[in-house]
Symmetry: D2
Subunit: 408 residues, 4 copies
């Protein structure tokens, strides 16, 4: 494999871009679009450095794919250049279907998951590149005959997670989330066509699992980040509500199209242009939408937009158990003071829940290969117990001055 | 000084925000606006990590101000809490007047410098904060009675440069640009009310000067970055040209206002709303402008917009001496092929020059304090010669396929 | 507090040394001796970078003491300059009683713990410095009236641990062991005269506890490190055995003195010179001892010495339960082949056990201060269960070729 | 190439050790000896972290050799596995002939250079490994038919320098000395069988040259480090002087042998045991020598030994021009006070000079390959002038209290 270009990456130092398919995919407008979609959405409100994009993450994951193949080959696993390229392409494209603000607005703009859109884009590119993505797509779908490739792409210890933990901890400055990606890559092995970890890597995996948990509670589900995301979601809900009732709103054209009517998988399949329209969307459309709605006459729109733009974020409290009473009380107080309808208040004072599964030992396990050649699931080997069940946290979210109103 | 908040900063680890004035300034909408202005404009086309903002830089520079005061106090220099706060505020606000894409579009949107706008904003905030910024403004203007404060704010070794070199090298991954900011801060001393560097810090200063030069050629004036910036400038020039000739263009309102007529310092002084209008602008207005102009019928607008959006950047070549002949030849070839007027081509095939003064020993020197208490300018002490004169590089810039046309 | 000197520390960047007591203690021969005692003994056999010394660790811990006091003062806790100095001195001297190879040879050279020797040295220095260490000693002994100082010196989250985890992970390159020392310091608070951690620091503490566990199994109790340490211990045991039986051995004088007779606390108290004699010992005496015994006629001495010098380390296997049978079998095989007595073989083929208490919730807990001002032990708050009991691992250790003998 | 072992290296993360020759060389006692020879001698007196060894450096340089070959192969340069191994072996062994304290004591223990001893050791190992080092030795001697290998081993931009700058700056904490080794490796190219640097790497090379200069003045020739080294040299001179006059001294046997008579290249050639004897020496012999001489009756021996052991280093002053008068005056004063002979004082109060050639454009240049395929020496391309001539600094060195004596 020859390299065409080197990119400075503050996380890994340098990333070499192979010539041919990989280079051409990166140059493609569909991929360039990822430059304008932040990796961790609104987290920069809490961690000002966290402005890195899905473009950067995808290239980083591609880099880890090349490293993993090189390390496995040094251990005697046969992996052809074509397979290496296919895996690298899969990592490049694994998240290409994400829209503005990724997870936060998933299912809000269209009614299908980002994975399905990713796959549609891959098929589109495969046609454009005359079938060069056949193996890549097979690997991504888990249909390639060597199944460990699928595990590198998506499993509980995949290259996606390795890159995003390394990258997100780097740009947020949350050093607790650092993972020893290089050590973990060196511990990879293939056994009976399945991905396993060499025994001496067990502490690195333990650390990886802990780092991931910490990043969840300290970054991805940080109270303030969650509050900002929920505010954005409520804003979008309100917009869709108003559009449905026939109101005209100052939205950019493609955004307007997707918010004013539901788009299903069938719509994408029936109308190839839908995919192009979708690919016109990025974070910037939402950013300027916020700016444009700051002065809108609808109280909910202007209140949330201003709050987000100037970072006057709502208070979010985790509760023990659901608490509909508190919600009711807050709404009553606010209604009395703010002259808003109950319906309007439902966008400003609301409850919800978040959950995180630390490790799922039911579906796919991380397996450890002992020096004696035995394979055991890590859940059986760790000194501490992995949480198999989703940890669910209920919360209530409301503008900070509601409490002031309550106790004044 | 008590601290109200801690911010994770991947560059310095943690930044403590003092309560009171500093915290309140950061919360202010004028300051929050800096979240949407990237520190190094279009450099992310070459260095994908370089998406950090002026918001982050300003807080970083504020942090260095607090550190510098603490270190100097430990050395016996008397600095009051009020002075510390004033210096910290000055670093927070020193660049607040920057508009979208900072330097690239300076003087393109309004006819005054970003420093003058910064000062206008400071005065505005000073009124709002009832004179709390009096000392800060005096320091910034160089009118405070202890002149070393001015040197910390703006000189050839100021806190601004320390932070931007540290931060830009961090986010670009250009490790050559790293500066030993902590060591340099420890070497600061005040002698006869002037800022000096202790003798043993001389190599750190040498390294700082070299790092700055490297960052200039490797990042700020990198050929590809320069090309992108010049493309943006030509696009804006074209927009202003078309607006002047009465064409209607899909621009966001405040941007339209500033691009369709000249705004001078007098305009700002006569109409206080101008400053608010200006503060509505940020990088996002330019980003969506690019997206909206991609399909425009004016060939120049659509060609440059598409090229920028999908990163098909023009080729930029540094030349020995000016070379108007090459320019002429390229334009002739393109004109024949592309069916464009000479006037249109002047926006696509153009020449220019960039310059950088490495160190200016005429205006203000960096002074070294020897162990014997003598003060000497660093230019007299270094083993190598500092370039006093601006290094000027001429260049020519043009779409890549022009060369293909020429040799086909 | 004024600073006299700055030391480059690759872990923290720079360490400022306060003038006066702290500077003078560092200059003292007793403290300079720590330059020649490695922090993690024989770990450099596995991690070649781990050659850092107790000198470096002590200065690092002193630095954290200064930082902790400064941070607590910024939060409004009153701590005088004298108290800061006393705490800094305590961190400087907390391990000064360590002898060659620290823990590995503890109780092998003298019959009292390193803590007791540290205290004897502190008292000696206190006399020399005319009582300047009174508060320092009180803090170290837990007799100072403000008890949080003792917790900073010795508890389950003390400055000692913060520094050694940061430093050992840095020099070994085991990045999994990194701790967010700076974040943890920022989370410190004093509540009812007890050290507590602010609520938002809870994940950093969790990470700290995990990092410590990982460092135990990956560095301090790494199989190969353990093997090397046990080999050294057996060598010393053999030396003492031979000396007792009247054999003359080529040992350096002070080492000879301590190995040929038992030294108790009473001996130290009765004979002040004992302390000086002890302080003449450092790692180098052991290193050259190894070199000198390589050619010795006693088979055990020469075999272990050569094995250590050229890093032909014994195999160490962790067993499930004790396994005296395996031990017996190995010894029988070796005895047949090597022509050694059973007594000699007991130094070459042996079993043992190692244990590590992850967290002791019985003795002293780490307490978390909630935003509402309530204090709870961390063991009640963590998502995962801390191991309260010592984890005990049994092992058997023997020269690698024993197995070859067995199966040839 | 398959890998047998992974070593944690805090500088590069992980180093993979290829099985076969490379692994076996590392296991060899001659190579294991390097564990006990510090890379930068007495620098740890100034930089307490700088205890890293030639063992670590040699393995690091070997790692860079593997990287360089891999990168060049990715660029289409054909390099066989045998050539890769030979280069890796050459880097492993390039400094194997160093004795205790490397440069400081070079030519003091034996009368030939460390390069010549390295070569003798390589030949010895080549016999032991049945000619496996033939190509390695040819490369090292510059006799291999592809000359760029020699340049990778020894030139003004060789893998030795890349590793030692990276490593020394890491362990000293002098971040100014960091080099972008990874970027430089990526910029390597072979042109007409000569090593060249791609044009876009020019700033990295500039930075590399500056970093090297800084490390010279800030670490290798740091005044305090120089003083310690000169003290050690004078101590050894004194020992040799006393041994010559028949005095018995408490030295370890091999050290005694080399210090009591001159050993030339002929001696090594005539007596193969000399090489083994030499390989018994390491830093530890010198360390314990210092300890043993602290109480010696010869005033010079005890004075210097104590001063080194407890870090009471002499003052070293750089002078403009030689200054024999100052030397004379100091000696006179000391003689009067200390009751020493002039001959004794010549070991305690002395002058000397140090020099450093920044870049030698006469012998071998670093060449830059332009995008157009032209090759030019870097000295013709840099913006600043490289110093071709040695920079010579004269100094005088003396115990600190001499000055006190002078002015009391």
């Amino acid at each position: 494999m020859r390299y065409k270009k080197i990119i400075n990456d503050p996380v890994y130092g340098f990333i070499s871009i192979p010539e041919g398919l990989i280079f051409d995919l990166i140059e493609h407008p569909f991929f360039q679009r990822l430059r304008y979609i932040k990796q961790v959405g609104l987290s920069h409100y809490v961690y000002p450095g966290a402005l890195h994009t899905r473009f950067h993450h995808a290239i980083g994951a591609m880099h880890l794919a090349l490293r993993a193949c090189s390390i496995l080959r040094n251990k005697g696993i046969e992996i052809s250049d074509e397979e290496t390229e296919a895996l690298a392409a899969a990592m490049l494209l694994h998240d290409i279907g994400h829209g503005p603000f990724s997870h936060a607005l998933e299912f809000k703009l269209v009614s299908i998951s980002h994975e399905e859109i990713s796959l549609m884009i891959m098929h589109h590119l495969n046609e454009e590149f005359n079938g060069a993505l056949d193996s890549c797509i097979a690997m991504y779908r888990g249909e390639y005959h060597r199944k460990f490739f699928r595990q590198l792409i998506r499993s509980q210890l995949d290259l996606d997670r390795l890159d995003y933990l390394a990258r997100d901890s780097f740009f947020t400055g949350v050093t607790e989330g650092q993972v020893s990606y290089d050590r973990i890559l060196h511990m990879l092995q293939v056994h009976n066509d399945a991905l396993v970890i060499e025994e001496k890597g067990i502490y690195s995996i333990e650390k990886f699992l802990i780092a991931r948990r910490l990043m969840y509670w300290q970054v991805y589900l940080h109270k303030t980040v969650l509050s900002a995301e929920q505010m954005l979601i409520k804003l979008v809900d309100r917009i869709k509500f108003l559009l449905k009732s026939g109101e005209a709103l100052p939205l950019r054209p493609f955004l307007h199209a997707f918010l004013s009517s539901e788009t299903t998988k069938t719509d994408f399949l029936n109308n190839p242009n839908k995919l192009f329209d979708y690919c016109h969307l990025d974070d910037q459309d939402i950013h300027v939408m916020l700016k444009d709605l700051c002065g809108h006459s609808d109280k909910v729109l202007s209140f949330i937009s201003q709050s987000l733009k100037y970072r006057k974020l709502f208070k979010l409290e985790f509760l023990h158990g659901e608490n509909q009473e508190l919600l009711k009380k807050y709404r009553e107080v606010a209604q009395a003071e703010w002259n808003m309808t109950e319906e309007e208040l439902s966008f400003l004072i609301f409850s919800g829940k978040e959950s995180n599964i630390e490790y799922n030992s039911n579906t796919d396990e991380i397996f450890i290969l002992s020096k004696k050649g035995e394979v055991e699931p890590i859940s059986a080997l760790l000194d501490f117990k992995l949480k198999n069940k989703a940890l669910i946290k209920n919360y209530i979210c409301y503008p900070k001055n509601v409490v002031t109103l309550l106790y004044q």
